[in-house]
């Protein structure tokens, strides 16, 4: 049996979170009525001219710095010429020969916590096209140009990934970077991140790449995984059956989990790229780049290393908590309130994540704030409540019963009793009420006593309505029972 190796390269289009379009002042907000957010420039009216949005440049530069890329002093916009109804000018303004971000690299984390590096070939700025709407117009096509001119950063990787899992880890890493930087909302459902996946296979050990297929517009982590899995299998089967993979563009059908070849025109498109004469070359000096660098927040990989090395979290915990900016910020806020990183990590990844998952909420939508959770953990750490009571308090916070853990502890009388006198009183009562059990206990040997003491602990806890400190109860009981 031949051993195959999969080779994957990705082109990820990230919609940048600018207020206005890349070359016009029209809004980029999602979901508006068709053609209400397209101005004369977006419509490609005669005589209009593009003006580059400086924020889009700043965002691209920040991305470049985040992936350790070279930021060339000069980059250039070019025109990619082709006719399509949702492309108003008959060309897309993009970058080709001189992109704004040069070669770089992204660290990806696999499920087992191991990391590796994927090289970025380059990233370039371009404008999005509009949308063709085929559904509602019988036999006709509607054109919505709201999206036309929305800034995109196209991030092109080297063919460095060897499995669907690596590809997904790569996209997740990009997602984390762009959302950390605040340069994109990363909303894949609304098309803020769209992937073209290049897949090929080759016999293991062969240096030359196989012929690749490009799968267009794969728009979720899950679809990326499925599309690659299907495509790899298809290509291997094809070759095993004596066929050949042809270089083509394919579409992923999420309903059937398969890729299909797109009908291709006989002649290949010649885009006739040439420098856009309406836009000046983008000149970025070192001072500008340094300024953008100074404005950047801590990045996911930096956070992960800090969580692991400074806060003493496990590699796994650090990786999970740093995977999204929202999660990391929540965790750090909890930690700052309670003062204990490990406890904070346990609660965020345990109780909180379980509840969020169950109700399908994002961490930003958590009904329990980081301050509330931190306050709760504090009460566990200072022995005000037991771990068991803490879960009750968490649930009550989740349900919105009160504003703080303290208020719930107070209202429900969950404060642990640590007063030795009070506990001793309860113990004495339980011993007096259970003569048979006490006799049995005292007759038993040390090994059996260990099990039998549970009965008395339970009774005392019951008597205290769960507020007695179990460890304290245990040791006092042992003293008293062993005395006789």
């Amino acid at each position: 049996m031949m051993q195959w190796e999969t080779v994957i390269g990705l082109e990820v289009h990230v919609q940048l979170a600018t207020q206005s379009k890349i070359f016009s002042g029209a809004s980029t907000a999602f979901g508006a009525e068709p053609n209400t957010q397209a101005c004369a420039v977006d419509l490609g009216m005669p005589g209009v001219l593009p003006v580059l949005n400086e924020n889009a440049v700043a965002m691209a530069v920040k991305f470049g710095l985040a992936v350790d890329a070279e930021i060339p002093e000069t980059s250039l916009f070019e025109r990619k010429n082709y006719f399509y109804p949702d492309l108003p000018k008959g060309y897309q303004t993009s970058q080709m020969a001189q992109p704004i971000v040069g070669p770089g690299q992204v660290e990806i984390t696999l499920d087992d916590g191991s990391t590796r590096s994927v090289r970025i070939h380059h990233a370039h700025l371009e404008e999005d096209a509009g949308k063709s709407l085929h559904e509602d117009y019988h036999g006709m096509t509607g054109i919505d140009l709201n999206r036309a001119g929305t800034p995109l950063l196209e991030i092109v990787s080297e063919p460095d990934m060897r499995s669907a899992k690596e590809a997904v880890a790569y996209i997740k890493a990009l997602h984390a970077i762009v959302t950390y930087l605040g340069i994109s909302d990363g909303n894949m459902a609304e098309g803020s991140m769209r992937c073209d996946v290049n897949v090929s296979v080759r016999p293991k050990g062969q240096a030359a790449f196989g012929t690749r297929a490009e799968i267009k517009n794969v728009n979720s982590f899950r679809f990326v995984e499925k599309a690659i899995a299907f495509e790899v299998e298809r290509q291997i089967e094809l070759i095993d059956d004596g066929g050949q993979v042809v270089q083509e563009t394919r579409l992923f059908d999420p309903e059937r989990d398969e890729t299909r070849g797109m009908r291709t025109k006989e002649e290949a498109n010649d885009y006739r790229y040439f420098p856009c004469p309406d836009l000046l070359p983008v000149m970025l000096d070192g001072a500008y780049v340094d300024h953008q660098r100074a404005l950047m927040p801590e990045l996911p990989s930096e956070k992960r290393h800090r969580f692991e090395n400074q806060l003493g979290l496990s590699a796994y915990d650090a990786g999970v908590l740093a995977s999204s900016r929202a999660m990391a910020e929540y965790f750090e806020a909890v930690k700052d309130v309670c003062g204990d990183a490990k406890q904070a990590a346990n609660w965020v990844q345990g109780e909180l994540s379980a509840n969020l998952n169950r109700e399908n909420l994002e961490i930003d939508d958590s009904p329990v704030t980081a301050g509330q959770l931190g306050g709760l953990i504090q009460r566990v750490m200072d022995d005000t409540i037991s771990g068991k009571a803490a879960k009750q308090v968490f649930q009550a916070l989740w349900d919105g019963e009160a504003d703080s853990a303290d208020a719930i502890i107070e209202a429900r009388g969950l404060k642990q009793v640590t007063d030795t006198g009070a506990i001793e009183g309860m113990i004495d009562q339980v011993i007096a009420d259970s003569p048979v059990q006490v006799a049995q206990y005292r007759e038993a040997d040390e090994a059996k006593r260990g099990k039998m003491i549970g009965y008395f602990v339970g009774q005392v806890m019951k008597a205290s309505r769960g507020t007695a400190n179990p460890q304290q109860v245990n040791s006092l009981l042992k003293q008293k029972l062993d005395q006789a």
């Binding site: 490609g44 005669p46 000018k89 004469p277 309406d278 836009l279």
Partner: protein
């Protein structure tokens, strides 16, 4: 009234000799009675013009008249005018009503100028005779059997015939200067980036520049100081202070160093044109200027380089005319491809199609390096020629065009038509400013002197032209056409 310059008319309005309404009404009447014989206007906006004239009269009464308040003008139909058809001389845009004003239109409006209408032009500014217009050719008021030049032929003819005292044109390869020369008026192509291109329908974006066409250099100065300046909507417009051109007109010519490019006086130059130009240069010498010969060694490469770069940009700029959003759309398209093909086959004229094909070819894979990149290299050499020449001289002078206006229909071969622009086209490739000044006649047809200066030296250019017009009266000559009308 129609023989006066802008500057004179401004003084008359200020003195209350007549109102802007009276002035504009008279001009509109002249257009109505005479333009049938010229075809210089595509659209006349009489009603709007009179309303604007009234507004200017009131502003003047109220004491806040702008620098051009109440002065009638015309705009080449390449400038977008809100609510008014902007056809660019093409069937493709015959139905296109612009939803916005070009920056220069806005600026003229703020200054109080009254636009009387949109002038005829070669389709999408592609041509040197104004014969490539969907609206028919324009005739030269000096001789109606002659062309007015192009592509701003309508603007030139309208000014020459006294229909308007001034007009705006655009110049991509000579389209202001050559028609100015053919029609005996003064026309200035500013430095690339001096005047905003926003709202000017693009032909070749790296070469297009709007500018004034008028009777005198002084009038051009008045208009240029209004329309020039940086525009945030045009990234290629330059952020540089706009000088007070009118105030700098009277700079003495003593010691001015004039270079005569030997390549501009070679084969193909009409002897009568040469004589008129050489006589003008003698006038300059008499005014204290020093004249020497210079060389622009890459001149012969200008036309080939231009006819690679301009069509390349045009092929992309004109892709938006696809029948989808505005302009002409073919009847009952069977599918998308049919929509594109028939819309464009029907909407564009011959010359426009020719240039789209040339440009598409030169940008295509396998040809790009040999044509487009090579042409860009040539462009740099041509620019360097001028920069080198300006190390030694202040301005360059020569004929604007190799011949006077030719007969309508005389130039049948596209290449011989392209050769009309042999002295003007390099100027666009280099981005420097140039002006054409009337300096005499070849037979009954005017001859233009072209004066060139370094980047952003419009003040000097206008001063040099103005000093000539102070010493001579060629710019005061009027054609017989329309003379009978007061």
């Amino acid at each position: 009234m129609h023989d006066k310059t802008l500057t004179e008319l401004a003084a008359s309005l200020e003195a209350g000799e007549f109102s802007s309404r009276e002035l504009c009404q008279a001009a509109l009447q002249r257009i109505e009675q005479l333009d049938g014989g010229l075809n210089s206007f595509i659209t006349v906006t009489a009603e709007q013009a009179l309303a604007n004239a009234d507004a200017a009269d009131q502003a003047r009464k109220a004491g806040h008249a702008g620098p051009l308040a109440g002065l009638p003008l015309a705009l080449k139909d390449i400038f977008c005018t809100q609510g008014v058809r902007t056809s660019c001389g093409s069937k493709m845009l015959d139905s296109f009503v612009a939803p916005y004003d070009a920056t220069v239109v806005e600026k003229l409006g703020h200054a109080g100028a009254v636009n009387l209408g949109k002038t005829n032009m070669d389709e999408f500014a592609m041509g040197s005779s104004n014969e490539n217009s969907f609206y028919g050719p324009v005739k030269n008021p000096w001789d109606v059997s002659a062309v007015p030049g192009g592509s701003s032929g309508g603007s030139a003819a309208a000014v020459a015939a006294g229909l308007v005292p001034a007009a705006l044109g655009t110049d991509t390869g000579g389209s202001i200067r050559q028609p100015a020369a053919f029609c005996g008026i003064t026309g200035l192509k500013p430095t690339y980036g001096r005047v905003s291109r926003y709202g000017m329908v693009a032909y070749a974006s790296s070469l297009d520049q709007g500018g004034p066409m008028a009777r005198t250099a002084a009038d051009c100065a008045l208009l240029l100081e209004t329309i020039a300046g940086h525009d945030v909507r045009d990234s290629t417009s330059v952020a540089r202070v706009v000088p007070d051109y009118s105030a700098e007109l009277d700079t003495s010519l003593a010691g001015l160093k004039i270079g005569l490019p030997k390549e501009y006086f070679g084969d193909g130059l009409d002897p009568e044109v040469e004589t008129a130009v050489r006589d003008a240069i003698k006038v300059y010498e008499s005014l204290g200027a020093k004249v020497c010969e210079v060389s622009l060694p890459h001149t012969h490469l200008a036309i080939p380089a231009y006819y690679v770069i301009a069509p390349a940009e045009a092929s992309s700029n004109l892709s938006r005319y696809d029948g989808v959003r505005f302009g002409h759309r073919c009847e009952d398209p069977t599918d998308l491809e049919d929509l594109y093909k028939r819309t464009r086959a029907e909407g564009f004229g011959e010359e426009v199609k020719r240039r789209i094909l040339i440009g598409t070819h030169t940008l295509s894979e396998g040809f790009f390096d040999a044509y487009y990149l090579k042409a860009q290299q040539v462009r740099r050499l041509i620019r360097q020629d001028f920069l080198d020449a300006f190390d030694d001289v202040d301005v360059l002078m020569g004929p604007t065009a190799p011949t006077p206006a030719f007969d309508l229909g005389a130039q049948k071969d596209p290449v011989s038509m392209y050769l009309q622009d042999i002295y003007t086209i390099a100027v666009n490739l280099a981005g420097i400013p140039g002006i054409s000044v009337p300096v005499g006649f070849a037979g009954n047809r005017p001859v233009g002197l072209q004066v060139l200066a370094p980047h952003f030296a419009e003040a000097q250019l206008l001063g040099v032209a103005h000093q000539f017009q102070q010493a001579t009266d060629w710019h005061l000559k009027r054609p017989a056409f329309g003379k009978e009308m007061a």
